[in-house]
Amino acid sequence: MSDLGTALVFWPATVIMLVTGLYVFITSSMARAGLLLLAALGVEGLIFVALASEFLGFLQLLMMSGEMVIMVFFMVMFMPDPGGLMGMDMTHDKRRSAAVAGAVAVALAVVAVLTDWPARAVGDDAPDVRAIGFEVMGRSMITFLFAAMTILFAMVGGVLLAKAGGRFGIGAPGGRGSRLARRRLMVSLPVVLAAGALLFAIGLCGALGQTNTIMVIMGVELMLGASMLNVVGFLRYSHPDATSGAFFVLVVMTLMAVEATVGFALVISAFRHSRTAEVDDLTELKG
């Protein structure tokens, strides 16, 4: 795709992605929150396409729809007042989480400014689906087979937890930021990384500041989405032949799915046990 085409899609899409990602944690309606998260991650798929990673983009569109729609109904199940009619405050530690997210955003910006990113590699588009296929079936075979096992464990664990009882655990990987682009409106690596950093900060703020477990999971999904966006940016602008990077995106998607499966199963299990899905209430239960 031409630079112009990329810019045409990238700018509006990024704005929509960030706005919808932010609104996930602002709206009081759980159905809206879930669907906004789908919008954010689906639009991210469009950005992937604009950044020449067609396969990853379409896959993102496909996977996120299924996953986020399920997210919606788990939210409707486990959130009090899923319609948002009462306008309840669903946050805790508001200041601290905003501060942490702000600090992360600033830190990433500093890193971005100080880092000297590699110049754009000569070459064309990001790896196509066949290149990824060779990577998956060849060099990264072991990882691929582990991914299979991970999915199996997620299925088994999900069924097991949803039927019996369990506890909690949340992890979050990192993202990257950057400095200003030379040509303002043309998309470049720093711009993509900046968008990723913002998305990451939004996700972090949500994960830290929300009271309900499922909202926390949504925050984590956004952070994982940000990491994927960064990788796709690198694929487009600095390492077009890095099929292992594309493969990494697949692994992150798997991670998102696995995290969602196990997370939801934990929520079901905890809810059955204590009739709440609020993080604070569940923490009290531990002691």
Binding site: M77, D81, L85, R275
Partner: protein, 447 residues
């Protein structure tokens, strides 16, 4: 949804109170160019009797607001014991109307607001240990494939029925008229057969009339079941059968033809032809794997449970209980009558019992007409005893003492309870199939 033009098609209509009542009463909505539709967005016509039963007035007024403004109204030349005329009913009311368009009549007080505390969890404990909030809704009283006037107040836990109450709204105000408009002939005959005003017509003709009504009723029910599960072949087959049965049936109901033998001669040939075609329909119902898949194993009532509930009529016969008032009737004994019994106890069994009974009924009618023709004699033994008749929905009794009628449909309440009971724990589609499979009558009896 919007663009459904069809020059020769039947117009989708809101049929008040319902298609089955119209058909059993002798006027099939198809003859008025209408077929019932249950999605307010698709309805292009309103087919209603000249007089609307008062109990339906509010529901009809509410439903009217969900329809497009320009839906024309067609009046049928029948009256179902109502007192509200349609024209006054449909005039725009000034109070208490909300112009939103959802199809069912969920009443505001059922919403989940009001009693909603921050972390309060309202609802019944569920089998899987997850306690959620229920949805309350009312299915009916009009605009559903069930008989109009029937309301199922349901509490849904997710899409599974947690609680259900089945109510009948309708009543016929004048005790002289048949108290159940879903089997008017049976009630009339039951009242006449008590001997107070013994009709001049031959008892064989009355048997034929009741049997044809049974066939029409069962087929109309089968068609409404077809509407519920959206089985077009079943709807089409039943409609074709009903059209020809209705034409033949006129002969029996027509008062102008006084001579029994003339009735018999005209009717017999027609019904004989109907029987042959009905044979094909019954074979189809037996054969259809799609119908078996949809109805099989739904709302099972075991024989012991049927006895415990004191079920009567076709619902009992589908559970292996050979309960049929006709067995004791000398007229039917003369016709070598054997009740149709199935042991499955599920919705399939109930559908089969009714389909096969419809076939048997047409056969009985043909035989009864033959008896009338040769003048076979049969007289009721004791005119004092309450006349027990097997109506299409089970036994009915009529006794006149000191100027007032004592009318009853033993087993009607048991069927209603069984139907409500059968819905519990089923997914919504399955619950509705279960509810429909009992063929409840919304016309209240016994005053």
């Amino acid at each position: 949804m919007v663009l459904t033009p069809a020059r020769s098609a039947l117009v989708p209509a809101l049929v008040v109170p319902d298609e089955q009542t119209w058909t059993v009463f002798g006027a099939d909505p198809a003859a008025f160019g209408a077929r019932p539709s249950f999605d307010p967005g698709t309805i292009r016509r309103l087919l209603a009797p000249a007089q609307v039963p008062a109990e339906l007035a509010a529901a009809l007024r509410a439903y009217r607001t969900a329809l497009a403004d320009d839906v024309p109204v067609a009046y049928g030349d029948v009256a179902f014991g109502g007192e509200v005329t349609l024209s006054t009913l449909l005039e725009p009311s000034t109070h208490g109307e909300h112009g939103h368009g959802h199809g069912e009549h969920d009443h505001g007080e059922h919403g989940h607001g009001g009693h909603h505390d921050m972390m309060a969890i309202v609802g019944e404990p569920s089998a899987d240990g997850l306690v959620m909030e229920p949805i309350h809704l009312s299915y009916g009283p009009i605009g559903t494939p069930l008989p109009g006037g029937l309301v199922a107040d349901v509490t849904l836990d997710g899409d599974v029925v947690a609680e259900s109450t089945v109510r009948a709204l309708l009543r016929v105000e004048r005790p002289a008229s048949p108290p159940d408009l879903l089997s008017p002939v049976a009630w009339t005959v039951a009242m006449a057969g008590h001997g107070v005003a013994a009709a001049a017509t031959s008892p064989w003709l009355r048997v034929a009339a009741v049997e044809i009504e049974r066939a029409v009723s069962h087929l109309a029910w089968l068609r409404s079941l077809g509407r519920l599960v959206d089985s077009q072949p079943l709807i089409d087959k039943c409609t074709r059968m009903l059209t020809s049965l209705q034409v033949s049936r006129r002969v029996l109901l027509d008062d102008d033809i006084g001579d029994a033998w003339l009735h018999a001669a005209i009717g017999q040939a027609d019904f004989d032809e109907c029987r042959e075609r009905l044979d094909g329909l019954v074979a189809w119902v037996r054969r259809s794997w799609a119908l078996r898949w949809r109805l099989g194993g739904r709302s099972v009532v075991t024989p012991s449970r049927a006895r415990e509930l004191a079920l009567r009529g076709p619902a009992a016969r589908a559970s292996g209980v050979a309960d049929d008032a006709r067995v004791a009737d000398p007229l039917y004994r003369a016709l070598d009558f054997n009740p149709v019994v199935h042991s499955g106890g599920d919705a399939v069994a109930r559908a089969r019992v009714r389909a096969e009974e419809a076939l048997a009924s047409v056969g009985l009618a043909v035989d009864a007409l033959a008896m009338a023709y040769v003048g076979g004699d049969a007289r009721r033994a004791d005119a004092r005893a309450p006349a027990v008749f097997e109506s299409p929905r089970g036994p009915i009794t009529a006794r006149r003492s000191s100027g007032t009628w004592e009318l009853a449909a033993p087993g009607a309440d048991a069927t209603r309870r069984a139907a409500a009971d059968a819905m519990i724990g089923s997914e919504w589609s399955a619950a509705l199939v279960g509810l429909a499979s009992f063929d409840l009558s919304p016309w209240r009896v016994g005053w």
